[in-house]
């Protein structure tokens, strides 16, 4: 009786997990498959498996819409932001995580507060500022605004990584005669590359996905990032769903690849700051 109940429960759980997997996967599957369907087969009574596979949407995407441009823009903006954040943020995070000074708690609180506040609240002054500096529709004009959310995020993640390093290693370094800076450079940094890499990946993903700033501070296709470009796809007579879905599939690729490779680290990184408090 009890054994039957237990079996029933694990069967229910297996079913539940199966349902989750399907629920998560289906929209992806549907979009990717659709991006290979001919335009005529996109709607109506669609089959789960396309009758005919075509690559015309992808071809049009690159030939007619120059989708390379938003991809390049996104890579540059997200890459530059991530680089700046990790380089500058690592120092800040290390100080907050390890050095003794007054004002540590307020700084961390401040950083936390900045990650929380809505981007929309600074769109107007940033727009006026960037216009003043003639940075609208430029790469720096996106990278600087991106720092507002990416820098606190990076610092926050790195603080929890640095706190996990055994303190004694740094103390051993100090006693061995290294300065704090030297300890940071020769002991802490080489040991925290997994943390730095994970942070970089998470920051990159956030930047890659950003929409509001990119929408507000670009004017035309030559500087639009991938999300903006996709969101603004227009056809002459109707919504070009085939191309939209092709672009969407491509926009998903970098994140998907990074996640497949680094999933364990990303999970640790994302959850460390939030839960272990």
């Amino acid at each position: 009786m009890i054994r039957a109940l237990v079996a029933l429960r694990s069967a229910a759980i297996v079913l539940l997990i199966g349902a989750i997997v399907l629920g998560i996967l289906f929209p992806f599957y549907w979009a990717i498959v659709a991006s290979f369907r001919p335009e005529t087969e996109l709607f109506g009574t669609p089959s789960l498996w396309p009758q005919e596979w075509v690559t015309e949407h992808y071809q049009k995407l690159f030939d007619e819409r120059n989708f390379w441009v938003p991809i390049r823009n996104s890579l540059i903006v997200a890459g530059a932001t991530t680089f700046l954040c990790v380089v500058i943020g690592a120092f800040c995070a290390y100080a907050v995580a390890r050095l003794q000074f007054r004002g540590k708690a307020p700084i961390l609180g401040f950083i936390l507060a900045v990650t929380m506040f809505p981007q929309i609240t600074i769109v107007s002054p940033l727009y006026l500022l960037l216009r003043e500096l003639r940075l609208i529709n430029t790469y720096p004009g996106l990278v600087f605004p991106y720092l507002t959310f990416a820098m606190p995020l990076t610092v926050w993640l790195l603080v929890s990584f640095f706190r996990q390093l055994p303190r004694e290693l740094e103390e051993a370094g100090l006693i061995d005669g290294a300065s704090r800076l030297r300890v940071f450079w020769e002991i802490v940094l080489p040991l925290s590359w997994p943390g730095l890499a994970t942070t970089a990946i998470i920051t990159f993903i956030y930047c890659w996905n950003e929409f509001l700033f990119a929408l507000s501070f670009t004017l035309g296709p030559e500087r639009q990032t991938v999300p903006v470009a996709i969101a603004l796809f227009r056809g002459q007579y109707q919504v070009p769903w085939g191309q939209i879905l092709a672009a969407a599939s491509l926009a998903t690729a970098p994140a998907a690849i990074l996640i497949v490779i680094f999933q364990r680290r990303i999970v640790t990184g994302l959850t460390a700051g939030a839960v272990k408090g």
């Binding site: 055994p166 290693l169 103390e171 051993a172 006693i175 005669g177 020769e186 002991i187 080489p190």
Partner: protein, 365 residues
Amino acid sequence: MASIRLEKIEKVFGKNQAAVRSLDLEIADGAFVVLVGPSGCGKSTTLRIIAGLETPTRGKVFLGEQDVTAFSPQERDLAMVFQSYALYPHKAVRQNLEFGLRMRGVAPAVISERVERIAKVLGLETLLERKPGQLSGGQRQRVALGRAIVREPKAFLLDEPLSNLDAKLRVQTRAELSRMHRQLSATMVYVTHDQEEAMTLGDQIAVMNQGVLEQVAPPLEIYRRPATAFVAGFIGSPTMNFFRCTLRQDGTPRLRSSCFDIALNVDASLLTGEREVLLGIRPQDIRLAEGEADSQARVDVIQPLGNEMVQHIKLLGQDNGTSAMMIVPAEMTVQINDQLGLHFPRERLHLFDTGPGRRLGAAPR
């Protein structure tokens, strides 16, 4: 090498968590001092204050004649061995050994010469190119020691360096440490919570309790003349027996409890009227009475240890009796519930006051 002096050191963590209270300690050049005490008593904190890893809330630290209280660890030129060894995991053994010398700007030729020499002394020659992760616990421990020695520092600070080793290796390494201390004639401060380790290693033992330094003395004196009831109870195994009793003077001073009433031959001038005291006697010091017994006891538990035997006994008295332990030769034939007459050799009795537990009177010799 240098002497170390702590002057009225206090360390308060947070608002009011005192880890070290008004601690004075003088460590002579070349001495081997063991800081011992129960967990959380402030040993590590004291050691870290010497190292410069913690800044004392009050008080001063001297190295030789120099006040180094405001110096960073880097400027103190001490070496420390951590309980976890704290080897740099991303550096090979050779780089671990070299690091301290490199940081102090020693010439490369000198560095490699010294590293080779130390590696040979510690039997690490074949391990030099390995990462710490590829070493056994014992080997890591040797590298940690090597990293300290190769620097030729002013003094060595060791925080429970052996507690991650198995029992056999620990005994072996202890002997080696003693030998090394003699050869280097280096000042060493060694932290442990293991009183046996303290007794075997130190030429001076400093016993701490709740942030207070209770006594500093050579091992034998600590054992024979514990300055406080805490020291008496902490040093020695099994732990000392304590009995609350009344000390009174009518003619000769007498010590009375519910279980015994014995005459003392201590200096009577110390005693004024009647007072509560704590009587301590080590399990090793209780004898079986040959003539008249000081107290009667019943045997509760017998634990044979090979060449001797630990007996848990109950001193018989008005109430339920008082528990105690004694050690007797293994040959003694005794059974549970046997009744024994006990003798307390007067020169082995320790008297403490009941409040702070300070030692009373002239010492038994």
